[in-house]
């Protein structure tokens, strides 16, 4: 296994310790609940923003804790939703008179843990609401499934609700904003390699040298279909077609465009994808108002990328442009 890992059972705990050590003063770490929280949270005059999810998606979400972003994140093990307890304890610790907003990526396990954790916290007097993120167009929303997955688009929901909460908005208002952003956000992903969960020690699946998985989520599972590998531009065209036609995004729209790396793909390639997407959006009469090229929501070491669009209006653009800090360090 070509990974920096000690005992795989300690993978998440050691990572979280690292995050805490790298952000002394700013973040607090509560090992019992895999909890990373702002040291200055909760704040009585601010809605607390919390997100769980499995680990393995870094920087989502533990490294998105900071001013104008999340107040706390309580990840489960790699690709496993946090146990209900973590959600319950986190909600209690982050309890504010203005309320706690629990952000959930739409997966069976996460939803169950958050539903149950929220119920229990409410029984203890915590004011809590859940907001579900489901931006993935690879999954057809039907009565047969749990519905669309929450993938890299969660960044925009976090950023928007984080900004609104920081500005003092009430819980209802924060939820309105979050729903609004989620409703105009769509993502489609592609994987070039399978990832290797540390506890498994080998890739989750085998992929031929000339194959890719189209329509993947963020848990290393196979996608909608296996396709022949294409060049970068052709892949972008396919991703963009799926995303643009889904909402749909129309001529005259102004959007945020995100190219998100899945973990094993270098920045250089992400910018090559970004270039094409930007050009093709221009061809369609869609203007890129804000650009995001980096890793935001990953699947361990998977080589691959996802493309996200957010339809902007003045309100959303203002929230996305609002100042923010995150644990993931650049300077």
């Amino acid at each position: 296994m070509k990974k920096f890992v000690n005992d795989p059972k300690n993978y998440v705990a050691e990572m979280l310790e690292g995050v805490a050590l790298a952000n002394p003063g700013a973040l607090r770490y509560v090992p019992a609940y895999n909890l990373i929280m702002r040291s200055d949270a909760p704040n009585d005059n601010k809605v607390s923003i919390v997100q769980g999810s499995g680990s393995g998606h870094e920087p989502a979400h533990v490294m998105e804790v900071g001013k104008g972003m999340l107040d706390a994140a309580c990840p489960g093990d790699v690709f496993a939703a946090p146990p209900m307890d973590y959600v319950y304890e986190t909600a209690k610790l982050l309890s504010s008179p203005k309320g706690v907003l629990l952000l959930v990526n739409n997966y069976t396990g996460d939803r169950m843990a958050f539903d149950m954790g929220k119920e229990m916290a409410e029984a203890d007097g915590v004011r809590a609401e859940i907001l579900t993120v489901n931006d993935d167009v690879a999954v057809q929303d039907s009565t047969y499934t749990v519905g669309r997955r929450g993938v890299a688009g969660n960044f925009f929901v976090i950023k928007a609700v984080g900004a609104a909460a920081e500005q003092g908005a009430e819980l209802d208002e924060v939820i309105r904003v979050g729903k609004k952003v989620n409703d105009v956000t769509r993502t489609m992903g592609v994987a070039l390699t399978a990832c290797t969960p540390p506890a498994k020690g080998s890739p989750l699946f085998e992929l031929g040298a000339d194959e890719m998985e189209f329509g993947v989520g963020i848990h290393g599972e196979p996608g909608r279909e296996r396709r022949k590998l294409k060049d970068a531009d052709a892949i972008v065209d396919d991703l963009l077609e799926a995303v643009v036609t889904d909402l749909p995004y129309d001529r005259g729209d102004r959007v945020a465009l995100m190219i998100n790396g899945l973990g094993g793909t270098p920045l250089s390639e992400l910018y090559i994808l970004f270039r094409r997407a930007h050009q093709r959006l221009a061809d369609r009469g869609i203007t890129v108002g804000r650009s995001y090229v980096n890793e935001y929501c990953t699947s361990l070491d998977m080589a691959g990328a996802s493309l996200t669009l957010v339809r902007l209006d003045d309100e959303i653009e203002g929230l996305l442009a609002a100042p923010a800090e995150a644990a993931v360090r650049v300077f």
Binding site: K9, G54, G76, D77, V78, F79, A80, A81, P82, P83, M84, D85, Y86, Y88, Y107, T108, G109, M112, A113, M116, A138, V139, Y144, T145, V146, R149, P197, A199, K200, L204, F205, G217, H219, G220, E221, P222, G223, R224, E225
Partner: protein, 204 residues
């Protein structure tokens, strides 16, 4: 089923889940995300860590306490699903000091209803329910040996299904051709209980 036998069953489940961590994880890797074995193993390890302190007033109380640990400490989909199963089984057992075969079946049916409600799922969705339900039916009509045979057949048969719930559902038609990890885990656990039960029966 006595308190001791209840303890025995839960212990076999826990130990077997821990032993099969890798196998269960590999099953979940085919169209899932590979964490199923890890989640179960870590969760049942936690159950065994606090084993001696669990309330043993009666089988129902014991099962409920197990359910609380599982629900609160196992992550992924499995924590809430398995925890709910244990909680509902415990509740159905009431405060009886010993359970008849009929009561055991009723307990399992309660667990199944709980899982269906929690998972918004049903037989045919390619989940552990597709092993648990036929197993319970066989147990009711033919006892443990029949249940062990039925559960293996049922788990194998999930290979023919298209997943409608859980992570495998995202892959749609591609989920056909491989067995469901949860269903196969139920089969392995029930087989192990069936294998070890006679000895337990003798000993008790």
């Amino acid at each position: 089923m006595t308190m001791r036998q209840t303890e025995f069953v839960v212990r076999v489940i826990a130990e077997t889940a821990i032993e099969n961590e890798k196998y269960f994880g590999d099953l979940d890797s085919v169209v899932g995300d590979g964490d199923f074995g890890y989640s179960l193993a870590r969760g049942f390890e936690k159950l065994l860590e606090g084993w001696d302190g669990l309330d043993r007033t009666d089988p129902g109380t014991f099962l409920k306490k197990c359910g609380i640990v599982i629900t609160s400490r196992i992550g992924g989909t499995s924590g809430p699903i398995w925890g709910t199963g244990f909680l509902r089984a415990g509740a159905a057992a009431g405060d009886a000091a010993e359970l008849t075969a009929v009561q055991v079946v009723a307990m399992l049916r309660a667990a199944i209803e709980g899982i269906k409600a929690r998972g918004q799922s049903d037989v045919g969705d390619k989940t552990l329910l597709d092993a648990l339900v036929p197993m319970t039916d066989a147990l009711a009509s033919g006892g443990l040996p029949a249940a062990a045979v039925a559960v293996r057949e049922a788990a194998d048969a999930t290979a023919e299904m298209v997943a409608k719930r859980g992570r495998a559902a995202y892959t749609g038609e591609r989920s056909r051709g491989s067995v469901d990890a949860g269903a196969m885990a139920v089969a392995v656990l029930v087989e192990r209980i069936s294998e070890t039960w006679p000895k337990q029966g003798d000993a008790s």
